[in-house]
Amino acid sequence: MSKKSRMKKALLGYLYISPWIIGFLIFTAYPFFYSLYLSFFNVNFTVEGIKATFVGLKHYIYAFKTDPSFPINFWNTLLSIVLSTPLILVFSLVVAILLNNKLKARAFFRLLYFLPVVIISGPVISELVANNAAQIVDPRKYFIYNFFTLLPNTVSYPFIYMFNNLVLILWFSGVQILFFLAGLQKISGSIYEAAKIDGANSWVIFWKITLPLIKPFVLINAIYTIVDLASFANNPVNTSITQRMFDIDKPYSYSSALSWIYFIAVMIIIGVAFLLLKEGRKNK
């Protein structure tokens, strides 16, 4: 009896998740692996339908060696993800810690900082950037900006990037701020009190208590940020992928190869973030 009812329960469980399994196979797994498959082939449209001929790594080599625009778009997209993610994380953690104080206007600020999450979309951002609405101050007027431009390019690039994209970095931090705030509120006040009695100042408290306890949230936020930025509609890499979809000599397949190059690169970034931010319990 109990074995039978357990069987029934298991079947019911599968029944509930069956829409997901079906949808996953059709709308996620199939397009995902089919694009990997296509990236090694050339597609021809014949009378009988689509005919694919194997070309090996040809598209992948072409992407980096011959394509005039893809490498630029690709590296620009990756660079902006790699530079924005730490900035967004640090910024949202700082704002969350500030908001975690007892403030009268806390609800108002929380509301304000979350607003961009609701209105952000590719075309809206493009319009704002195109009309200089995303640039609060002209950074070129300031000494510090000019100071950084004098430094070698590799050193100054992250700083100049930050100055130029300040508003965009802020606008992509809404979810992360709320998430950090939820995490901070879970840390019980008694730990802070105990630390204060032991004579710790707020600087020490931040490094020894807040940061270690918030670390799991940093990892989740980092992954969310990377995925969010990587899928954003305005990435230059998207133009490469969509414009090449209907290339006469290599329709679909070349775009598939480009999207897989991008996918692997994003996975590497997520992997690095994971290694850097995972909890190092084994070391202790």
């Binding site: 298991a10 029944l15 949808g23 403030l103 609701v118 209105i119 809206v124 709320l178 990587a230």
Partner: protein, 306 residues
């Protein structure tokens, strides 16, 4: 002695240190808030400016006279009545599907034990990591082979099968939420002879309104703002308002040609900002009405885990 010291620290803290740190915190928060609001303020004031105000360098924020011409033109070029309606149903319906289906899936995961359960959960979370560009090309091929490109089904079908925008987040959200609900209600109902669907609709459903509201409004916003996939799959058949905004400049040039050299027809920031404002206005209004649901959602639904 000790008492005096205590008094001293508290005096110092209450009247000197605490107000000054509060002041600094407020100062930073307001500064950051200004940076957040700047694009919006710029958008709003610019969209009410006439051409004379736009070229006048002494007019920075407040227009000398408020004009609605920009909106009239932007509305026409966006075909806003039609585009807004398209956006409304192309985001409401998939959001409703997503809210309902992800709840059912999470209910199955939360209340039943079955083989490979962990595997399915990990797989669901893994799908979140796939950037939408990777499946873009083959999704287009799939839907065009099914003759569905340009129809609403390109959004409806994936959302009906739990593959909507960021559905993994919502499944996780419901999963955590259902795990927090006490199972004693379910068990009592089961003893009374209710089947699992009845339990879901009669007991779990009414209790999970907060999670459902959260899922619905976030789905709504994300579907409204999605342009990469819908832009490709819907083509020009169903233009949502963000897609209309994307094509705004080129469309404007066609509708208001400047070939005759007249400056009156030239596009300017005022018109472009009005078009942007029209696009985000429904979202802004929704946000202001449902602000609590948006902002407190993360805490109330326990997505942060317990």
């Amino acid at each position: 002695m000790n008492k005096i010291k205590n008094f001293k620290t508290s005096f110092y803290y209450r009247y000197l240190k605490a107000p000054s740190t509060k002041f600094i915190i407020y100062f930073i928060l307001i500064g950051v808030g200004y940076a957040y609001l700047y694009p919006l303020l710029y958008m709003i004031t610019t969209s009410f400016m006439s051409v004379e105000d736009l070229v006048n360098p002494t007019v920075n924020w407040i227009p000398t006279k408020i004009t609605f011409d920009n909106f009239a033109r932007a509305w026409k070029v966006l075909e806003a009545t039609k585009s807004l309606l398209n956006s409304a149903y192309m985001s409401t319906i998939p959001a409703l599907f997503q809210t309902f289906i992800t709840a059912l899936i999470a209910y199955g995961l939360s209340r039943f034990e079955f083989p490979l359960k962990r595997f399915w959960i990990v797989l669901m979370l893994a799908t979140f990591l796939i950037p939408s560009q990777v499946t873009l090309v083959t999704k287009y091929m799939l839907f065009s082979r099914l003759n569905l490109t340009g129809t609403p089904f390109v959004s409806f079908l994936p959302s009906l099968t739990g593959q909507g925008i960021r559905s993994a987040i919502f499944i996780l959200l419901y999963y955590n939420f259902f795990n927090m609900l006490p199972k004693t209600f379910d068990e009592a109902a089961e003893l009374d002879g209710a089947n699992s669907l009845q339990i879901f609709f009669r007991i779990v459903f009414p209790l999970s309104i907060p999670a459902m509201v959260t899922t619905f409004i976030f789905s709504l916003v994300w579907y409204w703002n999605e342009t990469l996939l819908t832009g490709l799959l819907l083509g020009n058949n169903i233009k949502t308002i963000p897609i209309a905004l994307r094509d705004f400049v080129s469309k404007y040039a066609v509708m208001f040609p400047t070939a005759d050299g007249s400056a009156a027809n030239r596009i300017n920031e005022g018109i472009r900002m009005s078009a942007t404002l029209i696009t985000i206005l429904p979202l802004l209004i929704t946000y202001l009405i449902l602000q609590r649901q948006f902002v407190e959602s993360l805490e109330r639904t326990g997505i942060t885990g317990e």
